[in-house]
């Protein structure tokens, strides 16, 4: 099969003719084409500058300021907020909570998403209906999700609290949200439930793209179900898993509303992660400079996590 390379394109007259056009464009800063191109780019550029670049730049600027929102005063303090945060146990505990929330949530979402995708990919009628049903958690508003799960974890009437008590994981007539040890695991369960359909759909689409011939050949060679999964399915999912890990990690790391609605960061700070800390610091204490510094450190941490992923798996995978 000929590969879609420049060489093969040049060998074909039609492709060569088409190939000539980009060369003109590549010199795109010619008086006519260049200006027109820039003009076309302007709306997107304006959008990015106003909605992305400016807020990010302003956040960085704010993090170097002691901005007193109540009094309307501001003064440059350099790295003071960052230094203070690095010595603040509340920041470190919130970061720890954030990492637990993120990795617990992403791990669970990917595992459950893969399991659900394999269920959907299997034989059986009515899978379209099952797929639709499994997508529901993803489209239910966060507030409805939070209220429903809080009710299911209610100390007197919650079905899940009742079941957890039944298997000895929870004392009678209490709720995991009232426990320092159990509040975060319970919240992560809700986060997994809410986010797994995204992974499920992505995995399902990938599974459908795996050539059936590979499985048939493996069966001819005497491979069992587990070997098929390990040697064929998983290698095909490696690339998309890395993409999912990166996307979901960023998503969960910054995910504010669900955890806030479930626990408000309590009890005793057990579920307070960095987004909640940013919210309380800004709209609770009106210390926007410090809040901006926390947000800045969040961005750096998320960036480091992604760099680490890519380093481990190789940049070509992403």
């Amino acid at each position: 099969m000929p590969s879609d390379t420049t060489e093969s394109a040049v060998q074909q007259p039609g492709r060569a003719a088409l190939g000539a056009r980009p060369r003109v464009r590549r010199g795109g800063w010619s008086p006519n084409g260049g200006r027109l191109g820039v003009l076309f780019l302007l709306p997107t550029l304006a959008f990015l500058v106003v909605l992305v670049a400016y807020p990010v730049a302003y956040n960085v600027y704010l993090s170097f300021q002691d901005y007193n929102y109540l009094l309307g005063t501001s003064r440059f303090v350099g790295l003071q907020h960052y230094v203070q945060l690095l010595h603040d146990p509340v920041f470190w505990r919130s970061l720890g909570n954030n990492l637990v929330w993120t990795f617990g949530g992403v791990g669970g979402q990917l595992l459950l998403g893969l399991a659900a995708a394999m269920l959907l990919d299997g034989p059986g009628r009515g899978m379209a209906l099952v797929r639709t049903l499994l997508l529901i958690p993803y489209v239910v508003p966060a507030i409805a999700t939070a209220i429903t799960w809080r009710w299911m974890f209610n100390d007197f009437y919650g079905i899940l609290s009742f079941l957890l008590t039944g298997v000895g994981l929870l004392p009678a007539q209490t709720s995991p949200f009232a426990s320092v040890e159990l509040a975060m695991p319970a919240a992560i369960c809700v986060g997994i439930w809410r986010g797994f359909p995204f992974a499920m759909i992505v995995y399902w689409a990938t599974l459908r793209g795996i050539p059936t011939e590979e499985y048939e050949a493996a069966r001819v060679d005497g491979a069992g179900g587990w070997q098929e999964f390990w040697s064929i399915t998983l290698p095909h999912l490696k690339h998309i898993t890395l993409v999912l890990v990166v996307l979901r990690t960023l998503w969960m790391f910054n995910y504010f509303d669900l955890l806030y609605l479930l626990t408000k960061g309590g009890p005793a700070g057990a579920t307070q992660h960095l987004p909640i800390l940013v919210y309380i610091t800004s709209f609770g204490l009106f210390r926007f400079g410090e809040a901006a510094a926390i947000a800045g450190l969040m961005a750096v941490t998320a960036g480091l996590i992604i760099v680490l992923y890519v380093k481990v798996h190789g940049p070509g995978e992403l």
Partner: protein
């Protein structure tokens, strides 16, 4: 052009001129209408319907004023208001709580409303609510509803166990223990300690009953650092009460959870603001006759009822704007503050909301409401013994932005939760509260 044609043309022009003049006049009437915005933090449809009805009536009587009402839920109020203030478009009128009054005053967007209050009769208002929103000898909000916190209890269970209303902490603890029977699904007392608002309110109730303040009401100076012993004593008692008689999960309870527990007969007593009566009427009407109310006691029975408890109120504020809008806003306030209208507004959530104006409280409209009639003696007791002694963290000496910061930073609730769940000593928790308050104060007092 013939003479006739000329005459027709003249007539046509004249008619057009008259029509244009008429239309212009109409347009000028429309343009001259003063448009004002009214935000409200009311959360129940009955309240909104009542407000819409009153405002509609006002607009009929004042066709030159147009009012746009917008509901602003609690959870978005700070970001939304901050953005509006930043954009120079705060609402002309805002129906809000004390902390919002403090926030808006600090941002310098409020108009004083003394002229409205004096016109209505300042002496008719419960003094405490005016004091909360007064600073610099000016009043920055007009009280609309009074809220109260007290102990709601089961009279029938008290009778069965031959218990009487407790008049001190020790008596309350004994009663709570006597009623506590988790094996049969009944706890002695619901002690709600959820992180957002509720934990602070519950601790505040005990704290004020012990005479501990953030600001000294007399000297008007920061006083929590001098009240730490009393606050620690209050916290010790609160934790003891929780451990002895409250469902363990109440450490995470908000209003919904403890009201449901009381209505579903899982707790024999609870800290409460009165809304449980409305919930009982729809979910367990038989309970209504069994509900009693008593003021939360202090450490010593000889002081009962104590001269301090945690309360709250709803206000209306007027924002700075051009004089026509300010005048239109104040006109609407005068319209809304007739005793009948105040009473009707309170009756949209009977028992929970109480008119903060004596004439409205005594009005037939208020007193003849079936639910008010049912709890008439208790409401009179609250009006007499509870409301005048209400306090709110940070507002003890008048309007202060500290009130909002305390409320939205969860500092009091966190302290209580840390004592219960992370084995902090009450002294350590109180020291921590003090350190947090000092940082907050430094932020706006520097």
């Amino acid at each position: 052009m013939t003479t006739r044609q000329r005459r027709q043309l003249r007539m046509c022009l004249l008619t057009s001129a008259v029509a244009v003049a008429f239309l212009a006049g109409s347009v000028s009437v429309v343009v001259a209408a003063t448009e004002i915005t009214l935000w409200t933090m009311r959360t129940v449809e009955a309240q909104m319907a009542n407000l819409r009805e009153d405002v509609g009536e006002f607009e009929k009587q004042h066709p030159d004023i147009k009012v746009t009402i917008e509901a602003v839920p609690f959870n978005v109020v700070y970001p939304k208001l901050a953005a509006a203030i930043q954009a120079g478009t705060p609402p002309n009128l805002f129906n809000n709580i004390e902390a919002m009054v403090a926030f808006m005053h600090t941002k310098g967007v409020l108009e004083p409303v003394d002229d409205v209050i004096d016109g209505l009769g300042r002496e008719q208002f419960t003094k405490k609510y005016l004091e909360w929103v007064t600073v610099g000898a000016k009043t920055w909000g007009i009280p609309d509803w009074a809220l109260h916190q007290a102990v709601y209890y089961r009279k029938d269970l008290f009778a069965q166990k031959k218990l009487s209303v407790p008049k001190s902490w020790r008596e309350l603890l004994d009663v709570a223990k006597a009623l506590n029977n988790p094996k049969d699904g009944m706890y002695g007392m619901g002690v709600p300690l959820g992180r957002e608002f509720v934990g602070q309110q519950t601790f505040g109730e005990v704290m004020y009953s012990a005479g501990a303040y953030v600001y000294d009401p007399v000297t008007r100076k920061y006083a929590f650092d001098k009240n730490k012993d009393r606050a620690a004593r209050a916290l010790t008692f609160l934790v003891e009460l929780y451990k002895a008689s409250s469902p363990p999960a109440s450490i995470d309870w908000s209003w919904g959870e403890y009201r449901t527990a009381f209505v579903k007969e899982k707790v024999a007593m609870t800290f409460e603001w009165g809304a449980v009566v409305g919930q009982a009427s729809t979910e367990n009407a038989a309970l209504l006759d069994k509900i009693g109310i008593f003021p939360f006691p202090g450490p010593d029975a000889s002081d009962y009822p104590p001269k301090g408890n945690f309360g709250g109120a709803y206000f209306f504020t007027v924002s700075k704007a051009d004089p026509a809008k300010v005048e239109a806003s104040k006109k609407l306030l005068r319209f809304l503050w007739t005793p009948d209208r105040l009473a009707k507004r309170a009756n949209t959530r009977p028992v929970f909301a109480i008119p903060p104006v004596k004439t409205a409280f005594e009005s037939a409209t208020y007193q003849n409401h079936p639910m008010v009639k049912r709890f008439a003696p208790e409401l009179r007791m609250i009006f007499r013994d509870v409301m005048p002694y209400e306090q709110r963290h940070g507002l003890e000496a008048g309007l202060s932005p500290l009130a909002g910061q305390i409320e939205s930073s969860y500092v009091f609730a966190d302290a209580v939760q840390n004592v219960i769940l992370r084995n902090w000593t009450p002294e350590r928790a109180v020291d921590w509260i003090d350190s947090q308050l000092q940082v907050m104060r430094a932020y706006f007092e520097k």
